[in-house]
């Protein structure tokens, strides 16, 4: 597989429009509309509208259609996990990333050299998507959202336990849980179900379309219903899921004395949790923590690692300390999102 004479930066490199693969003439998760894009997953800073052609897993394409008004002007090329397709001179395969439904790593092979663009990923089990597959490669491009040794996400079950304990302590208060509409929402519902919570879970209107999409993909969310359909009395002691922005919004005033829970990897740091106004911070993240990131570098065994979006400095420092040729890769259009 290895090709020592070929400089990987000669065929895959950052441009203002995004990460560009020259011999394949496509961009991976570009920041703007391009002629041909390979999309790792459906979150807004990776999947954008307006590409002339988009290649992604069938699930990711379904998410993009749901978010971008069906994308009638984009030629869609579904590629299931494990299948390979040739774009120009490059073989492209999608491997599970374990991040959200449909999330994939882009495995790119050119002249015997293999680069893996991991997109966003995590290593712990997620009932809404297949687990991350470590793919041996020459260059591994890793995210670094939580790349500091202070990020050790606790067990999901333990965090859900906190929510259920709070419900037991405050049985008359509505528990308003802030979750991102894509991925976090459905995972939290599945985690609640796994913990034995079988009551109806109420949803803010903005969460409905993607929950429907997950259900259509065979993910059973149990009894869920729009929060707007119920009278206020119903919400005493109920769990209501909403986008984090709605918690600060006038919308949340309908609930009497709510407990503001927020699910995010950032909740592990107290100052961040306070800043976001969380009363019940739950560390539930769809991104790898420090242990998962460092373990993944060992698992894929790449001699070169490019580190992108997040706290690159610490992960580059660590990778070099174990003999990996690591550097930061600055990509356009990546924001710190709701992790």
């Amino acid at each position: 597989m290895a090709n020592d004479t070929l400089n990987p930066r000669s065929w895959l490199y950052p441009t203002p429009r995004g990460l560009y693969c020259e011999p394949g003439d496509f961009y991976v998760d570009p920041a703007v509309a391009v002629p041909r894009a390979v999309i790792t997953h459906g979150h807004g800073d990776h999947a954008r509208p307006g590409h002339r052609a988009a290649l992604a897993t069938p699930e990711t394409l379904a998410i993009m259609r749901a978010r971008f008004e069906d994308m009638p002007n984009t030629t869609q090329q579904p590629l299931a996990y494990g299948e390979t397709v040739r774009l120009g001179e490059v073989d492209v395969r999608l491997a599970p990333a374990g991040h959200i439904l449909g999330s994939a790593q882009a495995v790119l092979a050119f002249k015997g050299q293999r680069i893996v663009v991991s997109g966003d990923f995590k290593r712990r089990p997620d009932p809404t998507c297949p687990p991350f597959e470590p793919v041996p490669c020459d260059v591994f491009i890793t995210e670094a959202t939580f790349a500091l040794p202070v990020f050790h996400h606790p067990s999901d079950a333990g965090e859900i336990g906190k929510l259920l304990r709070s419900l037991a302590t405050f049985p008359e208060r509505t528990h308003l849980v802030g979750v991102y509409a894509l991925g976090k929402c459905q995972r939290v519902i599945k985690l609640l179900r796994a913990a034995g919570y079988d009551k109806r879970i109420w949803l803010h209107g903005a969460l409905l379309p993607l929950c429907k999409l997950y259900q259509d993909h065979g993910i059973d969310l149990g009894d869920v219903a729009p929060a707007s359909d119920a009278i206020l009395e119903t919400f005493k002691g109920a769990i209501v899921l909403c986008p984090p922005s709605a918690m600060a919004d006038r919308w949340s005033r309908r609930f009497a004395d709510p407990v503001a829970a927020l699910c995010s990897g950032w909740m592990g740091v107290r100052a961040r949790a306070r800043q976001r106004g969380a009363e019940l911070p739950l560390v539930i993240s769809d991104h790898a923590d420090w242990a998962e990131l460092t373990q993944t570098l060992k698992d894929v065994g790449a001699p070169k690692v490019w580190v992108t979006h997040g706290r690159e400095e610490a992960l580059v420092h660590y990778a070099r300390s174990i003999g990996i040729d690591a550097e930061a890769l600055h990509l356009a259009g990546r924001e710190e999102e709701g992790a």
Binding site: L148, P149, G158, R165, A248, S252, R270, E279, A314, H317
Partner: protein, 530 residues
């Protein structure tokens, strides 16, 4: 330890008093002895571990992940104990996590050289919340927003007792408080209050205004000045001498000058003041002496403390609380007259004919050391708590200033979706040279009450519609809304940008009619300084 850690964690994010109570009560009911007793001691500030040094923590962290990664981590988190709690990984092979009882009892016995190894073993065994709580316990700064009084209230609640019943026996108890929990939760006898220097729950007054006074008969009431100090209780018996705050906190260590001067047995109510050459010093001077575990000789000399007595609850072993105020007052005056004492004096009665006369006296009194008047029924016996009817406080009218709204922050609990904490400022000449001759606003205070629910909704909408910038939960707004701020006092402060601090500021009126340019200046406020 894990259950206690979860309690501290929940408390640190909860701001509502009732919710905090519920959390503590739930913990105290479920936790075994002696853990819950140690927890109560920790919450009431009764635990210290002199052999454990927080300075070791940085070294622990660097050893674990190297200097570079530790520096990056600490820089991101901003709190040493929390950084260490987060970077340390739980080692499942290290055995079960310690109980709170084991932590406290071990640390109390351990020497300085033994402590690091013990700590590392516990850090391995605990999860990150457990580590955080352990380190907070060690450093003695829990900072979870629980007052001593609130913790005692929670303890009282689990046994369906009034908090004063717990207060009365509290100072005869010591951690881990097993007899207390036996009494509260399992039919044990009420612990006895035979310890010396016990705190007696104080009697408190209700606020009143001029109009309400007309419904009362002035002949039934005695008046005293309401001093601008701190209400304290001086308690001495059986060789134990103590000074307590109104909430029952033992503040003796901060005021050795008072404690040394106690040469009697009895329990007295009075006002703690700093007094220099017969004059009461500003409240700020007293604040210098508060919240200190020990005081320097310089502090004692420059800020001499004094107690102005206004009631006697116990004299020798005689409990006087059942007597009417007039009789207690006579006993107090006779006792003071018998032996004058340098650190104690008597708060005089203010004689008056009728309410209009008293109102005149209140108007005429311009001293900064006086907050208003206390009115006490002559026939009132001393009742713990805040009974309605016998005692009133008639405060001086507040000072007022027109300020401009600068920032708003979202509130907590029921107000978490409202911008309800308001920072306001007054004008001063611009400091920046580029805007010569212009004025800028300097923040002078923050208020989060004083408005009606309807006004809050209006303010919230105004803030949302006039936001110019956001910093986390804070919004900066256009400088055009004038708020009339009421406050009880003003002092110089080096901690505030404007150089002054308002006492007890609240929003008095929203002045939609007033242009921001006509709001007050910092200079105008400075002229109000005593």
């Amino acid at each position: 330890m894990q259950a206690f850690a979860q309690l501290l964690d929940s408390l640190s994010f909860e701001s509502a008093r009732n919710a905090k109570l519920r959390l503590i009560e739930t913990y105290l009911r479920a936790a075994p002895d002696p853990d819950r007793g140690w927890a109560l001691a920790a919450l009431t500030g009764g635990l210290e571990f002199p052999a454990a040094k927080p300075a070791q923590l940085r070294g622990f962290g660097q050893e674990k992940i190297g200097e570079e990664l530790f520096a990056l981590s600490y820089d991101y988190v901003g709190d040493l104990a929390e950084t260490l709690a987060l970077i340390w990984e739980t080692d499942p092979a290290s055995g079960p996590p310690p109980s709170l009882g084991e932590v406290v009892e071990t640390l109390q016995r351990a020497t300085k050289t033994q402590t690091p190894a013990i700590l590392k073993r516990w850090l391995d065994a605990l999860d990150s919340t457990g580590r955080w709580a352990l380190l907070k316990l060690l450093t003695g700064a829990l900072r979870v927003g629980v007052s001593v009084r609130l913790a005692k209230q929670a303890a009282a609640n689990i046994g369906h007792q009034p908090v004063d019943a717990v207060e009365e026996i509290w100072h005869g108890l010591s951690p881990p408080y097993r007899p207390l929990f036996d009494w509260l939760l399992s039919d044990g006898p009420r612990p006895q209050t035979n310890a010396g220097g016990a705190f007696l729950p104080p009697m408190l007054a209700n606020p009143i205004d001029r109009a309400e006074l007309d419904t009362l008969d002035p002949a039934h009431f005695r008046a005293e000045w309401k001093w601008d100090g701190i209400r304290v209780q001086v308690a001495a018996s059986g060789g134990v001498k103590r000074l307590y705050s109104r909430a029952g906190e033992d503040v003796s260590n901060a005021f050795p000058d008072i404690v040394e001067a106690i040469d009697f047995d009895g329990v007295f109510d009075g006002e703690l003041l700093v007094r220099r050459e017969e004059a009461v010093a500003p409240f700020n001077d007293l604040q210098q002496r508060l919240n200190r575990k020990s005081v320097t000789p310089k502090m004692l000399k420059e800020h001499p403390a004094h107690v102005r007595l206004y009631d006697v609850l116990q004299l020798g072993d005689e409990d006087l609380r059942g007597l009417p105020f007039d009789e207690r007052r006579a006993r107090l005056e006779a006792w003071m007259a018998a032996t004058p004492r340098a650190r104690f004096d008597l708060s005089p009665l203010v004689s008056f004919r009728d309410w209009p006369h008293l109102a005149e006296l209140r108007e005429a009194m311009k001293s900064d050391g006086i907050e208003g008047l206390m009115l006490k029924r002559g026939d009132s016996s001393y009742l713990a708590g805040r009974p309605k009817g016998p005692w009133f406080k008639w405060k001086r009218d507040p000072m007022l200033a027109d300020c401009v709204l600068m920032y708003a922050q979202r509130g907590h609990g029921k107000r978490s979706s409202f911008y309800s904490d308001f920072t306001f400022g007054c004008w001063r000449p611009a400091r920046s040279e580029t805007v010569e001759g212009k004025r800028e606003l300097a923040p002078v205070g923050k208020a989060y009450f004083g408005f009606t629910d309807e006004e809050l909704r209006w303010l919230d909408k105004w803030v949302r519609d006039h936001t110019t910038d956001r910093f986390g939960p804070v919004r900066e707004v256009t400088q055009e809304l004038v708020l009339e701020i009421a406050f009880d006092g003003i002092a110089r402060s080096s901690r505030h940008k404007s150089g002054l601090a308002l006492r007890f500021p609240r929003i008095h009126r929203i002045r939609r009619d007033k242009p921001a340019a006509e709001a007050d200046t910092v200079d105008t406020l400075l002229q109000l300084l005593p």
